[in-house]
């Protein structure tokens, strides 16, 4: 199938793009990498009269480390995020998540901002953004605002971006201290949307107690989710007292609306999800242990 006709715009700056959004309102959609949008247009699952192509706007392609965070321009392709050495050093969760996103040909065009603004419940970067309490930067003709990740994902493919707003950057905090990170995901075929997955960040204090924890869940709801129940249950406890299975179970317990479809029932997804969290927890904790021994 081919996409229905649309009017194409190619603004040269974020400001121009924002003005176009003001002009066309809900009849317009931002096109970045197109790896999620174009299939939907081609299969005629959705249609927009105007597409605003921001894929060539240079100011949106950036990776900058500073002030305790890594700020990534929304137009930065996944491939760049995944291969950047500063990201690998400072926000390893992004580096670990990247290989799970589709296939390398998809990662060349798909953008971090696009993935987050599209807000698929199985989006890896979205789960990472939630786990780390990232900040989303949104720009409109009225100005700029910062949206915390916790407030960003509001429903299936829905975000708190208002009409006229463009996601321009996402800032991920850099964790220090004794921290470990892991991403675990299960899909039938490599590159498929995950059946369930988890992004885990853990920090231990000097007494081997859990000081900080961020668990992002993907594929387990209509939005990416935070495993808050599990996090709350482990903070302050000695790491040896916490079992991975317990963390996995707690993260999934109480999740309502676990999706059920041809890929799997809700019960199946819940089990896979708990296992992914458990594996992620184990891997993250051993990373910290490994650093100790090094």
């Amino acid at each position: 199938m081919k996409a229905a006709p649309f009017v194409y715009h190619r603004p040269e700056s974020v400001k121009e793009a924002a003005d176009l959004l003001d002009e066309f309102g809900d009849d317009a959609k931002i096109l970045a990498g197109g790896q999620s949008l174009v299939p939907m247009l081609a299969m005629r699952l959705t249609h927009f009269e105007n597409l605003i192509d921001i894929s060539k706007i240079d100011e949106l392609r950036s990776i900058d480390l500073g002030g305790g965070e890594v700020r990534i321009g929304a137009g930065t392709p996944h491939a760049f995020v995944g291969m950047d050495d500063e990201v690998a050093d400072s926000v390893p969760l992004l580096t670990l998540a990247t290989p799970y996103i589709g296939h390398f040909q998809i990662r060349t065009r798909g953008t971090l901002g696009g993935a987050i603004a599209h807000a698929d419940p199985a989006a890896e970067y979205a789960a990472v953004a939630l786990a780390l309490d990232a900040q989303m930067e949104a720009v409109s003709s009225k100005g700029t605002r910062q949206i915390p990740a916790a407030d960003f994902f509001t429903g299936l493919w829905e975000t708190s971006l208002q009409t006229g707003e463009i996601l321009t950057a996402v800032s991920f905090p850099v964790w220090g201290g004794r921290s470990g990170f892991a991403v675990e995901e299960f899909a039938r075929r490599h590159g498929d949307f995950a059946i369930a997955g988890a992004a885990v960040a853990v920090e231990l204090d000097d007494d081997d107690r859990i000081a900080r924890c961020g668990i992002g869940l993907l594929g387990l709801g209509s939005t990416p989710l935070r495993g808050s129940a599990a996090e709350a249950a482990v903070i302050g406890r000695a790491v040896d007292d916490v079992s991975a299975e317990e963390v996995g179970r707690l993260a999934i317990d109480g999740l309502e609306d676990i999706p059920a479809d041809l890929q799997g029932s809700a019960g199946y997804r819940a089990k896979v999800g708990a296992t992914m969290v458990a594996r992620g927890w184990k891997a993250a904790i051993s990373e910290i242990a490994g650093t100790n021994n090094a």
């Binding site: 392609r61 950036s62 990776i63 480390l65 500073g66 002030g67 305790g68 965070e69 321009g73 930065t76 760049f80 291969m83 950047d84 050495d85 500063e86 690998a88 050093d89 400072s90 850099v174 964790w175 220090g176 201290g177 004794r178 921290s179 650093t291």
Partner: protein, 230 residues
């Protein structure tokens, strides 16, 4: 691929020659570079380069192939492997000095073979990166040469590292502040030293950039405040 650059320093060729044939004086001028060891005309190091939006780190070795004083020509052969990745960067850099009395023009020809992360960028981007690196290097070199031998002495490895990035110093400093306390624990004393060195280098670097007679104390104070406070 062949990349061509040239720059000018406001010192006579003889002085420029001195520095360009001395690894321990050249290395600190290369942006993002860290000298790890020197063994006569051979040395090892690490360098972080920004190619397009991404930062790629390399680690490798280099050696002076040629130091022809009569012809005023230096040839350095360098080879680096990506620290995270399987790519490789190999370069043969030829620098020819042209004596212009009180100044020297240095013509640099680089024969670059690259694979891995940086290879996906076209020649245009790589040429831009090399121009920017060499432009930075030239500025640092000139500052070093004009500053005189006192400020170029780099007694410790840390300070050498830090002084490698006087222009990127602001970023280094922010990096240090943000990352050093935590990374120090994570990766141990090495990074803390680099961090501290970067901060020291920032101050040294700032001082070097102005002419000796006009050390701007406000700059120094502002830098100190940023280092110590907020």
């Amino acid at each position: 691929m062949e990349l061509n650059n040239e720059f000018r320093v406001a010192v006579p060729a003889a002085k420029a020659w001195e520095v360009l044939t001395d690894v321990e004086r050249v290395a600190p001028c290369i942006p993002g570079a860290q000298l790890l060891s020197v063994d006569g005309d051979e040395f090892t190091g690490a360098v972080k380069v920004k190619v397009g939006p991404i930062t790629v780190s390399y680690k490798g070795e280099a050696a002076f192939q040629e130091k022809d004083r009569a012809a005023q020509r230096v040839v350095i052969k360098a080879n680096g492997k990506e620290t995270r990745g399987s790519g490789n960067a190999a370069a043969v850099v030829t620098a020819a000095l042209k004596d212009e009395g009180d100044s020297t023009t240095v013509v640099i020809t680089t024969d670059l073979t690259i694979s891995g992360k940086a290879a996906q960028f076209g020649r245009g981007v790589l040429a831009d990166v090399s121009s920017s690196l060499i432009g930075q290097f030239a500025k640092n070199l000139e500052a070093d040469l004009l500053g005189g031998s006192t400020t170029t002495a780099a007694p410790t490895a840390e300070t050498a590292t830090a002084a490698a990035q006087p222009d990127n110093a602001i970023d280094s400093l922010t990096l240090v502040k943000a990352v050093a306390p935590s990374l120090a624990k994570r990766y141990g004393p090495v990074v803390a030293a680099v961090g501290a060195g970067a901060a020291v280098g920032f101050l040294l670097g700032r001082r070097k950039r102005k002419s000796p007679a006009a050390v701007v104390t406000e700059d120094l104070q502002a830098a100190l405040l940023r280092l110590l406070g907020s």
